[in-house]
């Protein structure tokens, strides 16, 4: 049993919704992450079946709900909101990641990605594809599982890039 410390991860809506579609929140822990979700992000999940799955994952400890109550994090959240470029959940997730130096799980390809790369670097940016790739490389999911997962996500309007899983 591995005793390696998990990487602290704050999860945004896009990745949360994808894993809710798959009902595979176990992938976070299995790939070495301790996943935390801001209450803003939970509030952005509006589909009832997905909300139920998120609630179940919170109950079983696959996810931990997180509130921003510290002054420095509130100010960071306010600063991101002031830019008017990002969604509310994105602001909350990034505020936590930036102030705590946590990894952030976020799929947005435009201004959010640019800012995360600028502030945290690529090592602390997790996306649905990178998480699945890691899960595949660690044999948490098989290649055939991966193929089914990709099909399922694309059916739910997620555009999956081609995954290279031959080597880590």
């Amino acid at each position: 049993m591995s005793t390696a410390p998990r990487v602290l991860l704050v999860v945004d809506t896009s990745v949360l919704v994808n894993l809710a579609h798959l009902d595979r929140f176990d992938l976070f822990a299995a790939t070495g992450f301790e996943a935390h979700v801001p209450n803003h992000v939970i509030a952005e999940v509006t589909r009832e079946d997905l909300r139920d799955r998120v609630a179940a994952a919170l109950a079983t400890g696959h996810l931990t709900e997180l509130e921003i109550t510290e002054s420095v994090e509130l100010l960071a959240y306010g600063d991101l909101k002031r830019r008017r470029q990002f969604g509310d959940g994105e602001c909350a997730a990034m505020a936590v990641a930036f102030t705590r130096d946590w990894a952030v799980a976020i799929d947005e390809a435009g201004p959010v990605r640019r800012l995360v790369l600028e502030r945290l670097g690529s090592d602390l940016l997790v996306t649905t594809p990178s998480l699945l790739r890691l899960a595949c490389l660690r044999n948490v999911i098989s290649r055939s599982d991966l193929s089914l997962i990709v099909t399922k996500l694309e059916a739910n309007r997620f555009r999956m890039p081609k995954l290279e899983v031959d080597e880590e």
């Binding site: 952005e44 509130l74 470029q85 309007r157």
Partner: protein, 431 residues
Amino acid sequence: MTLSPIELGRRLRVAREHVGLTQDDVARALGLTRPSVSQLEAGERFPNSLQLSRIADLLGEDVSALLDPGDYRPDSSLAALFRVNEALHADGERQAAVRGCARLCSEFSGLEGFLGIDRGQLAPVSYDLPSPNNRWDAVNQGDELAERERSRLNLGDGPIRDFVELLEAQGVRAFELDLPIGVSGMFLTDRGHGLSTIVAAGEVQERQRFSYAHEYCHLLADRRRGAIISSERNRDELLEVRANSFAASFLLPERGLLATLRATGKGETARSQLTAAFDGADAVDGQKRTRGESIQIYDVVHLAGAYGASYEATLYRLLNLGLLSKEQRAALAEMRKEAAVMRSMFAGTASGTIAAVGPAETGWKRDSRHRFIHLALECFRRELISRRRFDELRRLVNMDDQDSEALLSAIDSANAQSPTTSKGRAGEHRA
């Protein structure tokens, strides 16, 4: 940089008091207890960011303003509106709608900022008019201002086919909104909200056009006063009389009306004597001098249709111009039902009627929400805002998921075909 719970609590209290809500109101709306709201305002604890965000929404405040490490100043123009208008002050639902519209205006300014649109350059001229001394003065000022503005905009003497388009070309936003009964319109003017006119959504198109014109006058002549509400209660104020006179003259220009009437062998060429100003419900009496002609109900219906004005407004305008006597106007006013029948017949057959192509008959509402979405899409395409942010913005104008998806797919498709933009966005959720 820090923000103490006491300072944040103070800001929450100031923002709440500014829009006239009680701690009970806030507690009820957010599912909190009144003592917990009191604790937050006393700085006994920080709210979490989600609570704070919801309180800010309720108060019509920007959460980032509440969390600004510098000074905090609440939005004064909105608060002024709520204070001066009792109907708005007492109607929580519609007050919330106005706050929502103000937020839309503020987001509008943000999108324009991203795209480098300088609203200061777009803004229409501001006329420095003296305060009218009496009603007669107010009516004259409104009439003359309408002529000057028509001339400045090279509108000639013809009808204004699309008032929203005219306003937008002047850098003025136009919105329809559910307003309290008796409130016909309002305008906001400050750096945060930009220049925005708001008219009552439930009104027929002709009345909305009149309201837009009325608010446009405030914008041209009364901009320094900040936000203004036009309602039945303040109809007799001289600035309102001036705005009504402007609206009537701007929508129904004297030379244009006379030319139209002359084409049917009616009307006179002499400059009219202004005698009254239509203000949407009644005439403000001035001197009465009749130049009655044999103007018939179908002439009035034709003029109203051609110029996109209501039957009643056209009657008052003809009275103002001395083309109808008071008695003739009253007799024609009794024929509203017949006029409505004729209007619908004209709308179905005559290509020259504004109503035939306007929103009232087709159910097609048009205001600056279209332009708002246009700007949001452009910001998204240029990757200035995120997809989630776009979703928040399009919800402000009630665009549903399906329409949004169709639009964004079209953008992706266009991007994929364009040699100058990125090839789609693999790795993004489209829901």
